[in-house]
Symmetry: C2
Subunit: 189 residues, 2 copies
């Protein structure tokens, strides 16, 4: 049973990785057939795991959300115990992915395609609430934390289609990190 569980997890992982690759290059036209072929799994095997193409894409969206969450936590400096450490992890994880530049346009197509999958909007709303709660617990003034998160998100869209060069991306990162090391509202209410 344990071996079977491991194989199931491994198949699931292979299908999600193949789906990310195929959807990132082919967009909404990516078929279950092509994804199955890339994963080295039968179409029936894919559908056994995910029931339908939309369910597979929904699982992929969930997986990407979790991967980003893990990247943020991995980017937190373990010696950083000041308020805003999670905000700094969020900023660094966002910009690390952008400046690596690897597969940015594939990632843009992938995200754009997943955006129109039924249920993904609800996943994003839940994720947005989870980040808001986590930032509240991070100790920085909420107005400041929200501004930094929105600015990191906005810079990352520009970065995805190559709208910002590396130097200006790096400037944006440093500005957001510096803003997270001060505290209080940016404007008195």
């Amino acid at each position: 049973m344990e071996a079977r569980g491991r194989n199931t997890d491994k198949t699931r992982r292979m299908v999600l990785d193949a789906a990310a690759k195929v959807v990132g290059t082919q967009g909404a036209g990516a078929s279950v057939d092509t994804i199955a072929r890339h994963a080295g799994v039968s179409k029936g095997g894919v559908l056994h795991h995910f029931k339908s193409r939309d369910q597979m894409l929904l699982a992929l969206a969930e997986d990407l959300i979790e991967q980003f969450r893990a990247a943020v936590h991995a980017a937190i400096d373990p010696h950083d115990n000041a308020p805003g450490r999670l905000v700094r992890g969020y900023v660094n994880a966002t910009f690390d992915e952008l400046v690596s530049g690897d597969g940015n346009s594939e990632f843009a197509v992938l995200v754009a395609t997943l955006f129109s999958v039924p249920g993904v909007d609800e996943l994003l709303r839940q994720d947005s609430r989870r980040w808001a709660d986590a930032f509240d617990a991070d100790g920085l003034h909420p107005q400041r934390a929200r501004l930094i998160m929105h600015a990191a998100d906005g810079a990352s869209i520009a970065g995805l289609y190559g709208g910002g060069d590396l130097a200006s991306l790096e400037q944006s990162r440093q500005l957001l990190l510096a803003l997270s090391r001060q505290d209080g509202p940016l404007i008195a209410p």
Copy 2:
């Protein structure tokens, strides 16, 4: 000739409006046939104007970019002559569209679909450079102007999928407007 020019412009406008509607509801699966039917134009007529489906979608992306540019300029307060007036127009145009809430999810699908059309990335890069130049001429410290623009863009993604409620969108708008009424770098370099 003049009448013919007007008819040509009118047909083009009808096709682009129909394309925005159909792509916003059907995503990448939207066919030229369906768009032509919605526009009340023959498929041949659509292809006469735009040569190919991709050319039509590229023209639609260009049209949306121009519409947003026009909305920003329309949102500038004519009595506002202080540095940052264009930044304030950008912020207000962005949030006006979001809080109207009308067709946000259609708009999200439309933008996501256009993102993967060949040539749209280059349009966005050009647009990004035009905004950067326009903000430079707007008189606010460039670091401040860029942060406000990125934060407005980031808030607008959250708003598109309903990640921010109306009250928090309005708070974000007021914060960004207030930041544009002060000047200088947000953090000393």
